[in-house]
């Protein structure tokens, strides 16, 4: 890595945030946080979900007002009460969820809210010219007249960067910019970011991924529970140290896979085709199998058929062509209940809308699949004490915390909600477990717990199908990884024997 830019004498601060505090309905999201940004540096803001990173940056960008503390820009005290003021002070923010309008063109998206336009006439040609200049300067190739909704996620991010550069930002705030990118797109993004700082601009890089913070940043500030833990020079720290600061204890970054005899195939897909909600073919000739005693990971960029794959196996989506076997018995287009009865468990990707009922209690959610059968219900009577005792037992077994079994599940943290789902699904002693994005949005502690459960199932001799867009997760948990692209398997790899580049190319649809 080259480090040819100078960081100045350490006094050249673009931004200084002092003792910033912010409360949301009684919860301290930021507790007297200090943060400084030097000219020309990439400063990573590292922390778990809910550590207060986005809150701090939304305060800097004027989207939220702080309850205490002050902000200095180039040594001058400033108050940002709206994004407009932040933009005028040359601060730009690229949000985790893109702030783009899919139905408009690239030029229109960039032109939105520009101050250099005459009110009676929108001059898009002028905007186009400047976009092309910037695109040339920073190597951000883009078709200015394309509709944003038709662009790839990587291209959409380029539009976001162009929006900020067009407004002449000296400070770029990037909130989890790599979350939606393929490994190759991440590499391209990092080149662009270095280029931007070489021209004297500074970047705040919000992330919870250790490896990318190590690779891209000059300094790191770690937040935990709304407090600043430490600010360090990246070159003077390690991944392990950062992880410990972030979580507050030692963290295991690698899992043991105890050797186990791989048994008979439990799930087999043969040449499966299906359509998505719009009627477009989304799985094309998908064939693979998952055997007892292995975790098979499906890796790929979001939207390449992963959601539909889980649905066809579960019987929630119609298979147009091909066959699916479960324990050698054909289950193609059978009803979900019939498939579940054969021994399928499923942790769906959207916890809130498909896995749990938010207004129900922990007990009700735990018994959602069998509340109507003994011992919970006999002769048409539901025995609430039996249910509660069962829920209590499950809570102890799976370490479900937060308010007890009668609490509405919406009041539990994401991690504990997911533990409820896992407890319910695994207690049926299934032969196959499908886990779709099982740790999305969870903190490191809960992620660890859930990933260990997946490996434990496999070691017990069950089959596990892990579908995840988090490459770190797929590689850490799986015995075999299949890379999916546009509903086809591009490549099969063994996690310990493949390079990141190789996987990245397959995820982008390049065949060997």
């Amino acid at each position: 890595m080259e480090h040819e830019r100078t960081l100045g004498d350490g006094e050249d601060l673009v931004i200084e945030m002092r003792k910033i505090s912010k409360q949301f309905s009684g919860v301290l999201a930021n507790d007297e946080v200090d943060f400084t940004l030097k000219r020309g540096e990439i400063h990573a803001l590292l922390g778990e979900n809910g550590a207060g990173k986005s809150t701090l940056m939304n305060i800097l960008y004027g989207l939220y007002s702080s309850d205490g503390g002050e902000i200095l820009l180039n040594g001058e005290k400033k108050e940002f009460s709206s994004p407009n003021q932040a933009i005028q002070n040359r601060i730009g923010m690229i949000h985790q969820h893109f702030m783009l309008i899919p139905t408009l063109t690239v030029v229109e998206n960039v032109a939105l809210g520009l101050k250099d336009q005459r009110f009676y006439r929108l001059n898009l040609k002028k905007v186009e010219k400047r976009i092309m200049e910037l695109s040339e300067l920073y190597g951000l190739a883009i078709n200015p007249w394309a509709r944003v909704g038709e662009l790839s996620v990587g291209e959409q991010q380029r539009v976001e960067i162009l929006k900020v550069l067009y407004r002449d930002a000296q400070v770029l705030i990037m909130d989890e910019p790599t979350a939606v990118l393929t490994p190759n797109e991440v590499t391209e993004l990092f080149i662009v970011l270095r280029d931007i700082t070489k021209r004297g601009n500074s970047i705040i890089f919000i992330s919870h991924k250790l490896w990318e913070v190590m690779e891209i940043s000059d300094r790191v500030t770690v937040l935990r529970d709304g407090r600043r833990i430490e600010t360090v020079e990246t070159s003077l720290t390690t991944r392990e140290k950062l992880a410990e600061m972030m979580v507050g204890r030692e963290v295991i970054l690698q899992y043991d896979h105890p050797p186990v005899r791989v048994g008979a195939p439990i799930l087999q897909l043969e040449d499966v085709h299906c359509a998505d909600d719009k009627g477009l073919e989304v799985l094309r000739s998908l064939s693979f199998s998952v055997c007892a005693g292995e975790v098979v990971g499906i890796a790929g960029v979001d939207g390449n058929g992963q959601k539909e794959l889980a649905e066809v196996v579960h019987g929630l989506r119609h298979v147009d062509f091909g066959k699916i076997f479960f324990n050698r018995e054909e289950i193609t287009n059978k009803k979900p209940r019939q498939i579940i009865a054969r021994g399928l468990a499923h942790i769906p990707e959207d916890r809130h809308s498909t896995a749990i009922v938010m207004d129900f209690s922990v007990t009700e959610n735990l018994t959602l699949m069998n509340f109507d059968s003994p011992p919970f219900t006999t002769y048409g009577m539901r025995h609430s004490r039996v249910c509660t005792e069962y829920a209590q037992r499950m809570s102890d077994l799976y370490d479900i915390r937060g308010g007890g079994v009668t609490e509405e599940i919406r009041n539990l943290s994401g991690g504990n909600q997911q533990k409820v789902v896992i407890a319910r699904e695994l207690d049926r002693n299934p032969d196959l477990l499908i886990a779709a994005q099982p740790s999305r949005g969870l903190d490191i502690g809960a992620t660890e717990f859930i990933q260990k459960q997946l490996i434990a199932e496999r070691t017990k001799g069950k089959a596990v199908l892990l579908i995840s867009t988090d490459l770190d997760e797929v590689l850490a948990v799986s015995d075999r990884v299949l890379i999916i692209y546009k509903g086809e398997i591009m490549k099969e790899i063994i996690p310990s024997q493949a390079s990141f580049e190789e996987i990245g190319l397959a995820m982008a649809g390049v065949r060997d």
Binding site: F24, I87, L112, G113, Y120, L122
Partner: protein, 311 residues
């Protein structure tokens, strides 16, 4: 015996324009609210308010122009209620719209009785008379159909391209279109979502109010209870049928106006079909149009969703 076939084309088309004008104005108003993401069922109530206040303005001032201005103000007042309920109070916009419509019906009927006494209506109220535009009105067919109307019709001719230009060719229009799709994007780029939504809702009230005034003082000066009789809802249908685009809404309004004009002409021309069935024509067409096309159209993404920065 006169049959279905000897109704003159000029007559039907002239009636089409006359019937379409209030729909065009109201659905253009609907374009403003739709494009900033507000469900506007209140077009009916705004029209009724506009019809009533336009009528009252003309009665007391003796001037049709002042009446029209009062009509726009009345529509804007109804719009302000919708804006407050749906933007500031973040209420359910469908309920707010229907509430305004019911209120408008009640208030206008009540005020009419209290002001003039039950069953008493002022006659000979100031209204717009036809102005034949020199030269243009002499063109065969097109002349009488398009260029021999009252001032409000010509205002509508100007309003259509003006609204189109505003929405598609100005920075403000870009902000309007973006607000209906992704208000947060507008906010993060320094735009003012609340202000944009309020102004556009008011604009829809002004246009719908003018549409209402057209019904009472556009040709003859008279007001009846529930004079709009669902025209606001037809404008909503035209808006959806026209895919929330100005020119689409205008085309749909013309189609519905044609149905209305046709049935009126058929009624005059001793058609063998009972008039009750003929009166149904525009409404049936509305339902058929919605049945055939609505499923395929895609509304602005933020439609009906109140915006809250700290969500």
């Amino acid at each position: 015996m006169s049959s279905l076939f000897d109704i003159s084309i000029t007559g039907v088309l002239t009636a089409t324009i006359r019937m379409a004008v209030p729909l065009v104005l109201a659905s253009l108003g609907g374009v403003f609210t739709a494009r900033v993401g507000i469900i506007n069922l209140a077009l009916e109530g705004m029209m009724l308010f506009g019809a009533f206040s336009g009528f009252i303005g003309a009665v007391y001032s003796g001037s049709a122009i002042i009446g029209a201005v009062c009509g726009m103000a009345g529509g804007a007042l109804a719009a302000l209620i919708l804006a407050f309920l749906s933007i500031t109070a973040k209420a359910n916009q469908t309920v707010a719209g229907v509430g305004i419509n019911i209120t408008a019906l009640g208030i206008t009927s009540y005020l009419l009785s209290t002001l003039f006494g039950y069953g008493n209506r002022p006659y000979g109220v100031a209204s717009f008379s036809n102005i034949a535009i020199p030269v243009l009105s002499d063109i065969p067919v097109i002349g009488p159909v398009l260029f021999d109307h009252s001032l409000l019709v010509y205002v509508t001719y100007i309003a259509v391209p003006a609204v189109w230009y505003l929405i598609y060719r100005t920075p403000a229009g870009l902000t309007i279109r973006a607000t209906g799709e992704n208000p947060r994007a507008v906010d993060t780029l320094g735009g003012n979502v609340m202000r944009t939504r309020y102004l556009c809702t008011l604009a829809s009230g002004v246009l719908a109010g003018l549409a209402g005034a057209y019904l009472t003082i556009g040709q003859m000066g008279q007001f009846m209870e529930n004079v709009t009789a669902g025209k606001g809802y037809i404008a909503v249908a035209a808006l959806i049928f026209g895919k929330w685009k100005p020119l689409g809404a205008v085309a749909a309004s013309l189609l519905f106006g044609f149905a209305e004009g046709l049935q009126l002409r058929l009624q005059i021309g001793e058609s063998p079909i009972p008039f009750q069935f003929l009166s149904m024509l525009p409404y049936v067409m509305t339902m058929v149009a919605l049945l055939l096309f609505v499923g395929r159209a895609k509304a602005p993404a933020a439609m009906g969703k109140p915006y809250n920065r700290q969500d």
